[in-house]
Amino acid sequence: MRSIPKGASPVDSGPVTVLSGTSSDSHTWNLVFLQLLLEEAGHRVANIGPCVPDRLLVEECLARTPGLVVVSSVNGHGYDDGLRAVRELRAQPGLARVPAVIGGKLGVNGTLAPDRVRDLLDAGFDAVFADGDTEAFTSHLSRFGLRAAS
């Protein structure tokens, strides 16, 4: 994927953060926004783009050995697509421990029920963020100890 307009903080060293849409999700504004947000938090971002098949996500992660994987979905299929993707990811020995989070509008009816959030965590995500919960996400990012852009 071509990089989007750089904000004030293009980062060119350190571990890469893989940013990805889900297999069935065609939305991209969420990915453009998250790329900028991650860069501002000091992350070097590989934006894989929308409609990423599980196999491609796994290949990209194996090739890039990311410090963090961020999956974003807003089309209502995030629960099913996310579950499948993270199981594929965790099935790879090299990716069993890579930090991975998911967020967005994950259910057809908007917010995801607590037991479904639990399913995503049990399947291997380290955190699940509700739509618009930018504060919780950036707070989660702070644990990666990267120098945020001024």
Binding site: M1, R2, S3, I4, P5, K6, G7, A8, S23, S24, D25, S26, H27, T28, W29, L31, V32, F33, L34, L36, L37, E40, N47, G49, P50, C51, V52, N75, G76, H77, D80, K105, G107, V108, N109, G110, T111, D131, G132
Partner: protein
Amino acid sequence: MSTAPGLRGDRFGAFVAASRDRGELVVQPRMGFGDPGRMRAGLAATRAADATAVGTITLDSYTRVGDHRAARGAVAHGTDLNGYPIVARSADQTRAVLDRLEGEDFPVQVRHGSAVPQDIFRALLDVGLTASEGGPVSYCLPYGRTPLSESVANWREGTEILSGADGTGRSPHLETFGGCMLGQLCPPAMLVAISLLEGLFFAQHGVLGVSLSYAQQTSPEQDREAVRALRRLASEFLRGAEWHVVLYAYMGLYPRTAEGARSLLRQAARTAVEAGAERLIVKTEAEAHRIPTIEENVRALEDAARAAEGTRPVAGADPDSETYTEARALVEAVLEHSDDVGTALLRAFSRGHLDVPFCLHPDNAGRTRSFIDDAGYLRWADTGALPLPPVARRSRADAVTSSSLLSTLSYMERRHDSRAGRRPAPGRNG
């Protein structure tokens, strides 16, 4: 409209033409449900709405990306789908959904968003439907990973599958989605140009019942100018086809309050009538929150119809408007690349002669930028390699950040929600 309505038996186009002759704006939902019973109920409710309406079957995301196995799996397991899986369901099931609802007085369009539309088009012809939408550029670049060259090849084949049904008494109709590129922040001249070029592509591959889309942007004045520019360009370039213009209610971040959402929809209905668009795709008050219910869709259709009834067409002041001049320059530059519209589109994108701001697709040059000016007009911040005059470089302080992007993306949401006094909208997140 260039020739007599209904001449070719395009049921969808003929219905819109007849409604226009009666002075009625056609309104249409974007409705789609995985469950056949609910899909049928949605069509029945649209038909029964107090509005001049056409029906919609919007397909699910799995069908859109051609993953019919996943769609069949979801059908088998009863999983929620975000639309109707027309390929995964049998033709008999879909015929039962349409039975005694769809017809000359209530045409139904299949909406999908696919860069691989061939199976979808075969499936809709199979059940007697003839109207769909999309385009080789507009259903590729903003979504997914399909290379543009593959999408053009797929759409060539798909368009010819539809035009092959012509002469059997069922003439196809295709609407361009090019007027909606990325939903927001694409300057109107680019939307008008891509919409027209996709219409030319359809006509070149034999589909002569065409509608040209344009999506409501940030300024009603600029939107009227764009719809008029699209009409003028269509009358100049799209000879031999029957065409109309369809306006989409705002496709960007939608107001979160019910009143803000209605205010934006009514504005779209007024713009459609004032500028002479024949059809309007509505959005509901639940838009910002979730997939709307049937009842919310019907309310939106009726709300838009009432706003349209209270509006009269307005003559445009300047036929050579900025939007017309820019769009014409883009169209002419593209058509210089080849007599074959698909080839011309590919060459234009590879040279940056067409270039959509903020589009992540690898086949988009990614050198253009846009911004909203103080008057609410959507303008070029950087024209990249477009065949347009360069604009003054904006300062580094204007560099896009996550918060400035969010603020620009939510421009219309804020404008209409603040007018509405932030009354809570329906839905769990409201």
